[in-house]
């Protein structure tokens, strides 16, 4: 990609801003007009529910939502947010969700790099069978494991703790697979060189294998964070107290209103409270995320 960009930027006057502009123009040309149109439609399709949710979340709860009054209504108000915060202890739930998501991710990164390293570089008897079994775990829906997992948590006396929510996810079949594939692309020679320099296995992993695997780790982290941020049934089953429950359980108070019609303003306010931080996280780190995906894909 960089080689194709080199010629136009060299033909225009120097200067960072102008260079960037020409770069953008060039990219625009790369995608022809119809491509842009398709992308725009897809992007708008993705954005509309979110934008609608934002608009409706300030719709007055006393005003019906009609075809002619589909957005924020005649008197926008923040009262839905106030009511949402009053209905559920979201502050505590935020803390819990962040601890759960971060706790799971940190342990996962340790376990998947160690396991991936072993599978990639340490041949042992039964390796293929073991790896096959780990992959097989990807096929088991997590809802089928709720009862045995609950039983384990109960016997460990961890019921109703944050650790109980995290524990079943400390290992990740997908993560092990991803790290194994990534580590296998690291040239053997680098490994050998590190050994010759006197590095032990942990130092070799740390200095030789982890750095080129970082894009893959970021990609894995993204999928892990968004999955555990949204997980509902397992935390609901294994916790009873506000102290150990995540945001999604708080959101259930708004979304489980089966008896009566949907309270869209309240539901959207609650939803935005829950997804907001994730959304901001992605917007802030958008560039890093996309780059890491590109890198891990190019390897």
């Amino acid at each position: 990609m960089s080689s194709s960009l080199a010629s136009p930027s060299s033909s225009v006057p120097r200067g960072a801003a102008v260079g960037r502009l020409s770069l953008r123009l060039h990219r625009f040309r790369l995608l022809d007009a119809s491509g842009v149109l398709v992308l725009a439609i897809v992007a708008i399709g993705w954005a509309v529910p979110l934008i609608w949710a934002m608009a409706v979340s300030v719709h007055s709860p006393d005003e019906p939502i009609t075809a002619s009054n589909l957005w924020w209504g005649s008197k926008p108000t923040l009262s839905n947010y106030a009511q949402a915060f009053q209905i559920a202890p979201f502050a505590q739930y935020y803390v819990n969700t962040i601890l759960i998501v971060a706790g799971i991710l940190v342990v996962q990164l340790v376990t998947i790099s160690l396991a991936g390293y072993a599978f990639a570089r340490y041949p042992f008897r039964g390796q293929n069978l073991l790896f096959f079994l780990i992959l097989l775990q990807l096929m088991v829906p997590s809802s089928a494991l709720i009862v045995p997992n609950y039983s384990t948590i109960r016997q460990l006396h961890l019921f109703d703790t944050l650790v109980a929510v995290m524990l079943p996810y400390f290992g990740s079949a997908f993560g092990v697979f991803l790290m194994r594939q990534t580590f296998k692309t690291v040239p053997r020679d680098l490994d050998d060189a590190a050994r010759v320099d006197g590095a032990n296995w942990l130092q070799t992993l740390w200095h030789v294998y982890i750095p080129p695997a970082r894009p893959a780790m970021v990609a894995f982290a993204l999928s892990s964070i968004s999955f555990h941020w949204n997980d509902f049934l397992w935390p609901l089953v294994v916790t009873n107290s506000t102290n150990s429950r995540p945001l999604t359980v708080g959101l259930a108070v708004f979304t489980q209103l089966g008896e009566i019609g949907a309270q869209w303003p309240l539901v959207t306010a609650g939803t935005l409270i829950v997804v907001g931080p994730l959304l901001i996280l992605f917007l802030v780190f958008q560039r890093q995320f996309i780059e890491s995906f590109l890198h891990s894909g190019l390897k």
């Binding site: 709860p61 006393d62 005003e63 019906p64 939502i65 009609t66 009054n69 009053q86 209905i87 559920a88 601890l99 971060a102 706790g103 940190v106 342990v107 340790v110 709720i146 009862v147 045995p148 609950y150 039983s151 109960r154 019921f159 109703d160 703790t161 944050l162 650790v163 995290m166 740390w206 200095h207 982890i210 750095p211 509902f232 049934l233 609901l236 089953v237 009873n240 107290s241 102290n243 150990s244 359980v249 259930a252 108070v253 708004f254 489980q256 209103l257 089966g258 008896e259 009566i260 019609g261 949907a262 309270q263 309240l266």
Partner: protein, 436 residues
């Protein structure tokens, strides 16, 4: 440099995990007071509002009246989540909650999975039939099985007919009462439907739990889809077939209702927006409809060919099996308290559920509320027209068979008699595995 960052990140997260563990342990240790009976109470949420605060308030009142008993309320998601949580606990060998609110129609599934215990001895001690007679009989219709009483009503509702009084007036109809039977409802709807499509005479939802509103047609025809035992259903009798024909005729023959499957969640919105002059919906939607409607709202009963008729709906209080004897006594006190007149009156005023007993409507607080909101007295006055909601073994599946038949007819894929006959066959086959 980068290694340093990683190390710091690891250290920070290890501390966080440790802190989380410690705080969680501290939390569970602090709640257990010595010599007190500590009950656990699971409840689902199905209506909006500060439900958790209301429940917390009732519990602190109960704890004041009953020193030595503490109750830990646990929000357990929706009705299906509550069932999953309890079944997981039992299958995983854990301690179930002492008391839980679950659908009244979950009765047979709960008995089949050996999850609940009957309340007979406690009811006998509280006055037996005299005590039970205090409740609306319809709300106990899904409580009896094998000669036992298994649950008491807590958050109950029925479908009602909401109508736009201003539109009734404008169309030359009597705005003080709704239609008395199906024929009147069709005639009213024909006058209310505007030819330009801006207003439909009536909207009746057929998604989510289609069997529920359909039961209103059937009960209004003088029949029901519930069988004489929980391993039987009655889906293909002539009254049921003609009820489904009536439902489909509203759009196909009389053109007073939009065709296709109407969304349950959208009905109140269509009504308050003036898109529908009448809707059938849960009695629990009243508060929200009154809050949003800019016109006079009338409330009446759902109808069939022979007059008013409706199924009951909602959740009951159950006592779980396998809890210690001292917990059983305390749990019964709590069940009695939660179904008592004062609590039921307060719960009804704040949520829109119908209180469990006529006496709750005689409390001072409720009388003051009804003076301000006369529409709220319509649903309890109509309980006499209410019959049991569809319940059987393997209930979710049986309800789905009937719901699928209703939807197949409303979308024009089948005719009432063959759709219902096949639903009956499916249900009979499924239920043949159960002895009674």
């Amino acid at each position: 440099m980068i290694a340093e960052q990683w190390r710091r990140l690891l250290a920070a997260s290890a501390t966080a995990v440790l802190a989380a563990t410690l705080s969680a342990c501290g939390g569970s240790a602090a709640t257990a007071a010595p010599s007190a009976v500590a009950l656990t109470f699971y409840y689902p949420v199905a209506v909006p509002g500060p439900i958790t605060q209301l429940i917390d308030g009732y519990i602190s009142k109960f704890e004041q009246q009953n020193p030595g008993i503490t109750v830990k309320p646990v929000l357990s998601g929706g009705y299906p989540d509550t069932l999953t949580k309890i079944e997981t606990t039992i299958k995983g060998g854990g301690t179930p909650p002492d008391v839980a609110v679950m659908l009244s129609t979950d009765l047979y599934s709960l008995v089949d999975s050996n999850a609940i215990q009957p309340l007979d001895s406690q009811i006998a001690a509280a006055g037996g039939n005299n005590y039970l007679n205090g409740f609306y009989p319809a709300f106990l219709a899904n409580s009896r099985y094998q000669g036992h009483v298994w649950s008491l009503p807590f958050q109950r509702s029925t479908p009602v007919l909401y109508y736009n009084r201003d539109m009734f007036q404008a169309a030359g109809l009597d705005p003080t009462k709704g239609p008395a039977n199906y024929q009147e409802m069709v005639a009213d709807a024909q006058k209310l439907t505007k030819p330009d499509g801006s207003t439909w005479g009536i909207e009746i939802s057929s998604d989510g739990i289609p069997y529920w509103l359909f039961q209103s047609f059937v009960i209004g025809n003088g029949a029901n889809v519930v069988g004489s035992a929980p391993n039987q259903v009655s889906f293909d009798t002539p009254q049921v077939v003609s009820a489904l024909q009536d439902f489909a005729d509203l759009s196909a023959k009389y053109h007073v209702m939009p065709s296709g499957i109407l969304q349950w969640a959208n009905m109140p919105n269509d009504f308050v927006a003036g898109k529908a002059a009448m809707i059938w919906h849960s009695s629990g939607s009243l508060a929200n409809i009154l809050k949003q409607a800019k016109f006079n709202v009338g409330v009446s009963y759902t109808v069939g060919e022979q007059g008013f008729g409706a199924p009951t709906g909602g959740g009951n209080l159950y006592m779980l099996k396998g809890i210690p004897a001292d917990h059983q006594a305390a749990a019964w006190k709590f069940i009695q308290f939660m179904s008592s007149n004062d609590i039921q009156a307060d719960w009804s005023m704040h949520t829109g559920y119908i209180a469990a007993s006529p006496a709750a409507y005689q409390t001072a607080a409720m009388k003051a509320y009804l003076a301000k909101t006369p529409q709220a007295s319509v649903a309890p006055d109509g309980i006499e027209y209410a019959k049991a909601e569809l319940a059987a073994h393997d209930n979710a599946q049986v309800q789905k068979f009937l719901g699928d038949a209703v939807q197949a007819v409303l979308t024009g894929k089948s005719d009432p008699s063959s759709a219902l006959r096949s639903a009956q066959q499916q249900a009979t086959q499924l239920l043949s595995a159960f002895k009674n």
